[in-house]
Symmetry: C2
Subunit: 278 residues, 2 copies
């Protein structure tokens, strides 16, 4: 089995971005809006802030008390949209339940939407017209490219149908010419789909959903799941006989670091577009 090493590739992307950014007079600036507290978010935030420091961009976490009203945050986002020194805006997910997260996300100017999650940018994945690709599918594309794994004509099974991961990944790979099947909790016979796939992308968050009994031989498996076994961070893939697998993007060390790198790749894109427009 070979590893699709997201940690290594993420470092390489960081090195490339640092070189690009070092010569810029105005540095790209990212604002991450964090509403309330969330333990899982803290870890992701740390990774993002560390990556920003590494490549030399400005990254500010704007902490907002969760007592604020929906309209209050919408107002904050609208101000950030207008601020020409801000090139990227993220709302750290999940937000507390009382907020309408889709409405918040859709307040972000699509040109500053480095997460690629506004309706406008999601629509552009569907119409395949460019736009900002969400960080997870972008990270997977980078990984497959780096290891020279062709996508066109391949049978790809994506497990999961979230907007952030499953659906966006499926459409991004479909746009590259893959035959894509999207499986999820209502799928009756997962094994039937998995065992004949060329590439499996699992984005569920349930350890063991991909296992020895339901995969085939010599497949490329990309683990996008995040789950915990005791204190240990694990993914969706729990395969004992790893020699059956041709390539594995593991958890941790696969898509996770690639997602962070892709976010800053997106920031650099929105920066370049916004600076050109002024």
């Amino acid at each position: 089995m070979n590893i699709l090493d997201g940690k290594k590739l993420s470092q390489k992307i960081a090195d490339d971005l640092r070189v690009e950014i070092i010569d810029l007079e105005i540095k790209p600036k990212l604002i991450i809006v964090q509403i309330g507290q969330n333990q899982a978010s803290e870890i992701y935030l740390k990774h993002k802030v560390a990556f920003a420091e590494k490549i030399g961009v400005l990254c500010k976490v704007l902490k907002v008390d969760q007592k604020i009203k929906q309209e209050g945050i919408e107002q904050i986002i609208k101000e950030l949209n207008k601020d020409k020194n801000v090139h990227g805006i993220i709302i750290q997910l999940p937000v507390p339940d009382k907020f309408n997260s889709r409405k918040l996300i859709n307040c972000i100017d699509p040109k500053k939407d480095v997460d690629g999650l506004t309706d406008t940018n999601l629509g552009k994945i569907l119409s395949n017209e460019g736009g900002i690709l969400p960080a997870t599918p972008q990270g997977i594309r980078f990984l497959l490219e780096e290891y020279k794994i062709p996508v066109e004509g391949k049978n790809i099974v994506v497990i999961g149908r979230s907007v952030l991961a499953g659906k966006s990944i499926a459409l991004a790979l479909l746009n590259q010419g893959a035959t894509v099947t999207i499986c999820h909790s209502k799928t009756l016979d997962l094994k039937k789909h998995l065992e004949t796939a060329d590439i499996i992308v699992s984005a569920v968050g349930k350890n063991g959903i991909v296992n020895d009994s339901n995969i085939g031989e010599n497949q490329i498996i990309i683990d996008v799941g995040i789950d915990m076994t005791g204190d240990k961070l694990v993914g969706d893939v729990d395969v004992a006989n790893r020699e059956k697998i041709l390539f594995l993007s593991p958890v941790p060390g696969g898509v996770g670091p690639m997602t962070v790198a892709s976010l800053f790749h997106n920031l650099y894109l929105t920066y370049a577009n916004n600076v050109d427009n002024h």
Copy 2:
């Protein structure tokens, strides 16, 4: 073999809409912007205008000379967006090559986008938040509902990956809980996917792409293709032994009339939303 009779259901939807509309003081108004001439478009336009008359809504075809510039049409659309007596705007596709059709479509206010083709409305199919579903997937949903064909957990193979049809249909059915596979011109083994499907939706425009040799037994087949054999309008499905098929939505008389009916269903939705907002 049983027929999914789109002509009959379309008539039923027309009757229902007519009853709703007869009591409205202000009638819903649809503007169809037609740039230049196109023979295929003329037929579709006639169907739309006839349906509008049948249900009692206002429908105006705004013919624009194709010598107009992109900016000229964008200006026309912006004026229509502002006109509170207009509840729906369509750009009749295809437009002549010199125009950027996606840019034109994205000028339409998403609240008046009865075709559901703006990035904003496409994004809402992805995020499954409502919005306006394009007429073709909406028509298919109505047909399946009418004939009490469940979608959840079914293996559905969609052939074609256009925005208007293939991708939108796939996502609309995925949102209803189907396991969806999207096949297209780069798919290497179409038969492998088709023969085990519960439902096949073919949206290619190539007669015979679905045929006796690549389908299974007792399937539901929905033909969305438009092709010509000599002077005869045909679909993608060319199956001699029709007894193999459980249900067929044929061409003509299946999804075609349903698409027109769904467009006016969408107009009634945008009308209700816009009138509520004034």
